[in-house]
Each structure stands twice: as structure tokens, then as C-alpha cells.
Symmetry: C2
């Protein structure tokens, strides 16, 4: 992606709303530089008609992509575009596949990312853990425990950074310190919404990943929350709703996951609790009831998918490995040890698979642990 | 059923265990009098071999059916045999249909009943509400509220009279005072097990129905609990498990309901509660999650089944009625008002249907309410 393309996408993200179908459609058949030039010139382009362009005039006046880029760099954030190595899988779907109640359900055209992990690798084995802002003590405890256990199993917990269940999910995942947690915001990365979560969001930006489709300075709107939810649903393999009242926003995340064919799971609770009405409705509609991380993993990775076969025969250790395990071995460094997330990124496989493969590789004498990371042994490097 | 048949069945119930397959099989091709004579003579009969008969010798010595009958009458109880009007539907299934973990899953050969309602009519629209003896405060509340609402809807709540969920279910149903509640005991009707529930069981005997397969004096055994559960499952249209630990006895009731093709429903609870592990397992295995009485009714009577159609045209009121509603009208007395349960018994339809039909009949001017009961109006009797 050229610098001009990046600046053009920042400009488009600044003057249009996330998920705009017309902008996304224009970008399918033209470069961002061309579309951005047309928008700035007020010249209609495909579905991007005169009326839509007129509506962008006010925003164009105060739009300065170069300045936005500098602000992002000042925040320690980066710009990730479709086609970039870090662009997560799953962020592409045909228009019309989403049944959302708001317009603008096209895939993102750019992501602003802050945090010490490659986003695509972090999302390869991930689950959304979402729920009510007004979570009960029970729901908060379950969200935290569940996310802790998922992170321990190498699953990246993705949520919306909101009060209640979202925050509890991020906190549980951070406590495990085993897999990054991702907060997808409905505002610019510098906005730290909600304010009461600013320390949590700051920690996620340092230890996990903060992600947004909105340039710095943009605030939240009701529509942006709903449009944001499609990103949470799309980058993960499944969405777990921990607590949700009858019309909770977290049910919209579950709806988008449904639209995309992702797994939707729900945690039950007391039938006397308003905050479990939504999850019970999901279960009654046929979604799996889950009570712990093992049951979530079973849904995400049907039993056996990630089990390496037991070694057989007396051939050389490397030859006995499954193809994917060999790919993991091939991605390991000879000298400086690296962590699971970096191995997963290098091998292009989910972190969970790396975690399952490492004991086998260790047992085969092919890898060793050093300074909290992993590297090849002499045998493994041979 | 002749007096001799009744005495023979009491004798067989006294010397054998409830659910004995060999005794039940013998009764399929011979009268109870003949089978009882063979048993007393120690003469093998079909599957009732010499070895089984030898095992009954000690019990035969102290067996006195006439005395048992007098004790039953002294308790205010009656004997109900297959073929009797009061014998509930559903108590017949082919051998081998039950997957229970104890031998002896044949249908009952006799029932001892105490209470002011005809058992068959009471069971026509009924649900089992069962669960853990060690129910949590949450589970007890849900069992009570659910059973209250079911009884209000004309559904007979059947349970096992045990501590915990069972007792809460009976209490809820008694509080509604709208439909009888039935306790199926694993001991003789005079045993009031467990002792701590003696006042509750006494009230059920006066206002609801106490039912047992065991003659007076018989105590509980572990096997009798499990065998009793098949009666709870068989006489009801569905079983609702409110709370159950991983290996709760109430899951055996659900298992027998499954065996018989009855509905099995489960109430969810906190995933942190041991007493909800069993119900969550049922839901995960595909049983409907229910949170209230309306959802139970929807499972028992799929929507619309019991809705009388809205009146149309200007024909005579009686002619506009559905056939079943007309049957209810035909069962109504001209003079002395009677209650819903007696109307249901007379018409041979579930009490729920009577409750649904009465407002229509009232609106059509065909019936009237008098002294807490119902009777025909002049128009209805015309």
C-alpha cells in the first residue's frame, strides 16, 4: 500500500461513516487515491452519488489526512489497510449479507491499530466475549473467568471495551497474560470511551490491541456502536454472549456473527435475571449453551481438530510431524527465542495450534524454552 | 375389576417389587387371580420362574391382602387397577423401552391413591416438576413460581414429594389452588417419607393426590426411588427439571420421560452453581430451555392447539362451537354447579381445554358461574 493510498483511505474514513456501502463499493473497482480525488472534487463515482457527496462537504473542509496520520503516530498507532499483512481475515463479505438494522454494513476500508501484536495473527484463534453494560456481579464474574481461561488456551478475547461484561472480559484476558486481548472501539483511538475505562483501555493499548475504523478525534454515536459490532463479530471465529437483556446491543454482535456464519454461543443465568433474558432467547433459538471455556473451544474447534497424532514408528522426529506442525517448526528461530504469538504469526497458523504443537516438538527434542520464549534445538535446526 | 382381582394385585404388589417385569408379563396373558394363586403355590408361571418364586417365600408368609385393603381404607385411600376409569393414561409401554439403570421397569400393576380428585382426569393435562433435594434458594423459588403458574393454567403439577425442588413444586401448585398436585411416593401411603415433609404430604392427600405402587407399611429403598420416577414421567405430558447436579436422581425422571417420548425441559441457572450442571447438560443435549410456565405450556401444547376459534357468522351459539368445546358443553350439569376438574373428567378432555373453553361458553351465554362452579344456562340447556 503506497503512502498516497494510506492517506486517501484515512481521508475517506474521516469524511464518511464506517461501513458506508457506497465508498466500499467504489473501492472494489478503483484505487483509494482515485476515489478520494473524486470525493474531494465532488464528482460522483458509481454508487457514490451527488447527494452523498454534498453531505460530505462540511467534513471535507476540516479534513487533513496527513495531520491525522501524524496524530496516529503520536499515539503510537499504525494504519492497517486491506492487503496488508496485518489485515485480519474475515473482514470481507458481499454487500447484503448483513441483516443489521442500520445502513452501512460494508466491511471496513481501513483500521487504526495500537498495541504490540500483529492483528491478523492475534485474530486467527479468537472469540468475542460480549454482553450487557449493566452486567450483574454473576455475569461479570463469568465473563472474567471465561476470558481468563480462553486466553490461557491461547484464544484472543475480542470485545468492545465498554463497561460491564466487555470490561470484565478484557480484564480476565489481561490477567491470564497468555494471549492478547483486542478492544474494538466505536470512536477514535485517542478518545478512550467510556472515560471510566481509560486505564483499562490504556493497558489494552500497551499489552493487547486497540482497534478502530475511526480516525483520531472521532467520538461515539449510537450508530457507530452498532456498526462497530460487525468488526467484533467478523474478526473472531465465534461470539459468546455472557449476559444480555431483551434488547441488548450485544445481541447485535451475535446477529452480525450469525450473518457471517460465525458461531454464536450464550451463557445461561438465573431465569429471574433480566440480564439473562437475551442469552436464554439465543439458546431457545438453537444457539449452543456454554458454561465454560472448554465448551467454547469445542464449538470453535470441533473435538480433535487440533490434536496432533501420537508418534508412530522409528523415523526421524521431523518426518513424523503433521504438515501443520512442521510448518510451526519451520517458523521457529535458531537463536533468539520468541513467544507463541510471534511463532503463530510467522507460521500463519492459530496460536492455539502452536500451543498444542509445542509440547510435541519439545518432547521430540526439536525445540527448547529459553528466556520465556521458544527456539530450535540443535536437532531441530539440523 | 372384581374384589378378588383387586386383592390378588395387592398381594402381588406386596410380595414383588414395583416394576417387576416377570409379574407384569404374567399379567398380560392371565388374570391377577391366577397369577397370584401360582405365586402363592410356588408354581412357576411364564417368566416367573422357580428362582424368583423362592425369593418371594419370606414375604408371602407375612402377606395379607385383605388386611392391606382395610389399612388403605383406614387411610382414606383407594385401589386403582388397569382398566379402572381412574387408571391414568400413559402407564403402558412395551418391555425394553426403558433404558433405566435398574431392573424392573415394567408399568405398574396397581396404584394406591389418596385424594379428592380422579387421578386420570388430573393427569390429562399435567407436567412433572422435579429437581435436586439440595435445591438452592434460586431453584426453590423458580420451582414454586413455575408450579404456581402451571397450576393457574390448569396444569396438574406432579412430583416426588421429596425435599427441595419437589416440595417447592408441590407448595407452589397448592398455593394456586387451581389444579390438583400429585405426589408419587416411593413408599406406602402411610409412610410420609421424608418425615420432614409430613405436613406437606398430608395436605397433598387432602387437596391433591398421593399415589404409590407400594402397599401400606412399605418403606423407601434406593431402587424404589428410581423405579418410582418412571411413574412421574409416564403419567405426565412432560418433565421439567428445575435444578439437578451432575448425577441427580431427577435426571433419571428425565431419562424415563425420554424413553417414553415425553417432553423433557430444563430450567437454566448460574453456570457457577453445581445444582445447574445437570439442567445445562440437558439443554446442551438438545432439550428445550424453559424460563417460565408459558414456555412450558408451549412445549406441552404447541401454540394454537388449545385455542378455540373466534366465533363467526350468526348461527345458533351451540352450532358455532368446535367439536371439543361442544363436548365440554355436553358434559356440563343443568342444576348443581361443578368445578373444572369434574367437567374435564366428564368430558374426557384436559382441564386446560376446559379452562380455555369456559370463557367462550360464558360469552356465548351457554354457561354460568354459581357457587364457585359452573352449570348450563337456560340457553345452554335448550
Amino acid at each position: 500500500m503506497t503512502d498516497e493510498e494510506v492517506l486517501a483511505r484515512i481521508g475517506l474514513a474521516r469524511v464518511t461513516e464506517p461501513g458506508s456501502l457506497d465508498v466500499w463499493a467504489a473501492l472494489q473497482s478503483a484505487s483509494a487515491v482515485d476515489v478520494w480525488a473524486a470525493v474531494r472534487a465532488g464528482a460522483p463515482w458509481g454508487q457514490l452519488g451527488q447527494r452523498a457527496l454534498d453531505g460530505l462537504a462540511a467534513r471535507l473542509e476540516v479534513c487533513d489526512p496527513q495531520q491525522d496520520l501524524e496524530r496516529l503516530h503520536g499515539l503510537g498507532a499504525r494504519v492497517v489497510c486491506p492487503g496488508d499483512e496485518e489485515w485480519p481475515d474475515g473482514l470481507d463479505w458481499p454487500p447484503g449479507v448483513m441483516s443489521g438494522d442500520v445502513k452501512g454494513m460494508a466491511p471496513p476500508i481501513v483500521l487504526f491499530v495500537k498495541g504490540p501484536h500483529p492483528l491478523r495473527a492475534a485474530a486467527l484463534s479468537s472469540a468475542a466475549v460480549v454482553g450487557a453494560r449493566a452486567g450483574t456481579p454473576y455475569g461479570l464474574e463469568v465473563a472474567k473467568e471465561l476470558s481468563f481461561a480462553l486466553a490461557e488456551a491461547g484464544v484472543t478475547v475480542v470485545s468492545g471495551g465498554a463497561y460491564g461484561i466487555d470490561a470484565a472480559a478484557h480484564r480476565g484476558a489481561l490477567a491470564a497474560a497468555a494471549a492478547p486481548t483486542v478492544a474494538v472501539l466505536a470512536c477514535g483511538l485517542d478518545q478512550a470511551y467510556p472515560r471510566g475505562n481509560d486505564r483499562l483501555l490504556d493497558q489494552i493499548g500497551r499489552e493487547g490491541l486497540l482497534v478502530s475504523e475511526l480516525p483520531p478525534g472521532c467520538g461515539v454515536t449510537r450508530m457507530r456502536f452498532l456498526v462497530r459490532n460487525r468488526v467484533v463479530a467478523a474478526v473472531t471465529q465465534g461470539t459468546v454472549v455472557v449476559e444480555a437483556a431483551a434488547r441488548s446491543g450485544s445481541l447485535s454482535t451475535a446477529g452480525r456473527a450469525d450473518d457471517l456464519g460465525r458461531h454464536v454461543m450464550a451463557v445461561p443465568g438465573p431465569v429471574t435475571s433480566r440480564q439473562s433474558i437475551g442469552t436464554h432467547a439465543l439458546i431457545r433459538a438453537g444457539r449452543p449453551l456454554v458454561t465454560n471455556a472448554a465448551e467454547v473451544l469445542e464449538v470453535l474447534h470441533p473435538m480433535g481438530t487440533y490434536l496432533a497424532p501420537a508418534p508412530r514408528g522409528t523415523v526421524h522426529p521431523r518426518d513424523r510431524l503433521e504438515e501443520q506442525t512442521r510448518r510451526i517448526l519451520d517458523a521457529m528461530p535458531v537463536r533468539r527465542p520468541i513467544g507463541v504469538a510471534r511463532i503463530a504469526a510467522a507460521a500463519g497458523v492459530p496460536a492455539l495450534l502452536v500451543q498444542v504443537a509445542l509440547p510435541e516438538l519439545l518432547g521430540a527434542g526439536l525445540v527448547e524454552q529459553r528466556d520465556g520464549g521458544w527456539r530450535l534445538t540443535t536437532l531441530g535446526a539440523a
